[in-house]
Symmetry: C2
Subunit: 384 residues, 2 copies
């Protein structure tokens, strides 16, 4: 040994254990700046959705100065509260089984926003709040066409729910998830305008009935960036996947492949002798996820389980993960692979079909700034 | 408060935070006993694959007295080594990038089995071992028809790889993954016999060339239980999903729905007013996984993203999770739902399509013994 205290070797993409999740900080920053500028120019607040990133270090960049955020689980709410955020919208239909944990957050000073779409939930929440001497801040979920949860803006239930909520009523929210089925900027813009119109109608009806809305919330990453959007009456826009983007969003035309900030680093572990245009990597359905969202796009945009990049993040057209097993991915090349390319032990990076489930398989980000060095490890808060 | 030290309320399926993973210990024990008895009766060793369970408490039941085990990641290998297992087969094609971590295991006294299928990997391993003064215990992967990794039993590469391995050679292994595409007991039995024949041919060729096999390893859960299997020449059988089973395996006829030992506990969070035969639960694609393996089975076995059980684990025919979003699952009933059924806040359990990815979304098991009480929490080792 040359020294009693040998310097720790600098961590790099060549040395990381594979598979793992790599985050390019400059692409993240560019994606955040684009969304922040677009939403700010429309005169409303951006309430970043941390369901994709699930990471305090990223929240500091996406929602600086502990600005309001959105989460998809109570574990995320508790984690971000622990890290100092106080205005947190839990944007999944609330269930009575979550009242006790929500109460813990309220008592800790968190201005939690809950969302309901059923009179029974509203009644359970109001009764619990009465007993526990708490005030909830609850929005009514509006179905603007995704048919996941929510009541339609014209539904009689809207006012029934507001009355059941009483002093716990805080506004309305919708998510135009059908934007993911849109196939042109015009279709996305139409969904975006429908989101806005639905919450506007709902908020107006509620206001006329004595329930003014503090929060009028819309959003999905595609609709948040839609051109020519009139957000009159809306107070905030929620979006999440824009932080990283992915091949599905690139396929929708909402971002470019070069904007995608996360990739899965993998090692070439197999070169089948009789299949020269294929190789195996150590990233399978667990490291990449089973998501095949791009299969719903035109064939030239179907990425299988992900498109390939070289170690420096340059997209390698014609190479995709065509099949997965738990810990194996089979890469297939459209064109014959040059002899000697992708030898055993070489490394590649896989662009995700859908960043949310891919990231969810990993417990941390290895952060780069465009070269092969790792400048930070940022943990994620998975689970519930 | 009635007491200075109030008793902690007993944890139960009614009180757990949802979604979460529930494991029925008696079903697990029954599944383990069936596989152990079947393999023992054939005179070979069972080397349980912990890729599904990823849990030391379960390994104590599946591989008691620290019997040999199989793993799918080096993190699993390190975790089980920490818990005292020493004979650990890392049954994924080995990559040179994993040599340093494997060396750490060897130096800690673990009798790690590695698997290679390429002369370059064998050469890299032998060179590293020479430099680091280590002895690996390496099997050659045989392709018995799954076309994932491996060399065919008749390939000239077989002997090339064995010679490159030299003293690190330990035997042959295969995985008849094509059994998952079989649709009858006869087809599964044929795959099982092919697995055995392929390793037998490979081991014989290697033996004639001066490389006797210490390990001749076959297995998948369906083939391990195939009727009338002649395992002459085989030393061990590997299997993993048999510990829990799932709807895909039940669809293959390898187990019954009642054998499935894991379910996802979920709360009813939505009852759309205009869709009386549907409801929303708080288990979506993250808690259930995106796996739709049963879609490849006959339509009556297509479980969507999972079939439903009541809180006591009784299967509710005709109810399935038909659509998922990140944190929402849409349950659709084939028959009209009785008025008042599945109210907001009620709880259900979802049988997994594919136990491996569903379990991988969760950090622990909540263990029951058939009633609603939770008798233990068992952690899982996810990731890499």
């Amino acid at each position: 040994m040359s020294s009693v205290y040998p310097p720790r070797p600098a961590l790099s993409l060549e040395l990381l254990s594979t598979p793992c999740l790599v985050l390019e900080r400059e692409k993240l920053a560019r994606n955040l700046a684009r969304m922040a500028a677009t939403v700010a120019a429309r005169g409303v607040h951006l309430r970043p959705h941390l369901k994709t990133a699930k990471c305090a270090e990223i929240a500091h960049l996406a929602a600086p100065d502990r600005a309001p955020i959105t989460v998809s689980t109570l574990r995320e709410a508790e984690y971000f509260a622990h890290h100092g955020w106080t205005d947190i919208f839990y944007a999944v239909g609330f269930g009575p089984g979550k009242l006790a944990r929500a109460a813990g957050l309220l008592r800790a000073g968190v201005r939690l926003v809950t969302m309901v779409d059923h009179p029974d939930t509203a009644a359970a929440l109001a009764e619990f709040a009465q007993r526990e001497k708490l005030t909830f801040r609850t929005v009514i979920e509006i179905d603007s066409g995704d048919h996941r949860g929510g009541v339609t803006p014209s539904s009689a239930l809207l006012l029934t729910i507001a009355r059941a909520l009483g002093r716990h009523f805080a506004g309305v929210a919708t998510h135009g998830g059908q934007s993911y089925a849109a196939r042109s900027p015009q279709e996305i813009a139409a969904v975006a305008q429908t989101e806005v119109e639905c919450v506007r109608i709902a908020a107006t009806r509620l206001h006329m009935d004595g329930f003014p809305s503090e929060i009028v919330s819309v959003g999905s990453s595609p609709t948040a960036l839609a051109a020519g959007l009139d957000l009159t009456g809306v107070t905030e826009v929620r979006a999440g996947v824009y932080m990283f983007w992915d091949l599905f969003q690139a396929g929708l035309g909402v971002c470019t492949v070069d904007d995608i900030a996360v990739t899965v680093l993998a090692e070439v572990i197999g070169r089948p002798a009789d299949r020269p245009n294929e190789f195996l990597i150590d990233a399978g359905s667990f490291a990449l996820s089973k998501d095949t969202a791009t299969a719903a796009l035109p064939p030239e945009k179907n990425a299988g389980y992900g498109w390939l990049c070289d170690l420096d993040g340059r997209h390698l057209p014609g190479l995709r993960v065509a099949r997965t097993w738990q810990e194996h991915g089979l890469v297939v090349s459209d064109a014959p692979l040059p002899a000697g390319s992708f030898p055993i032990g070489s490394r590649v990076r896989v662009l995700p079909n859908h960043a949310c489930p891919t990231a969810a398989a990993h417990d941390r980000y290895f952060v780069t700034t465009g070269d092969r060095g790792i400048v930070a490890e940022w943990p994620r808060v998975n689970g519930w």
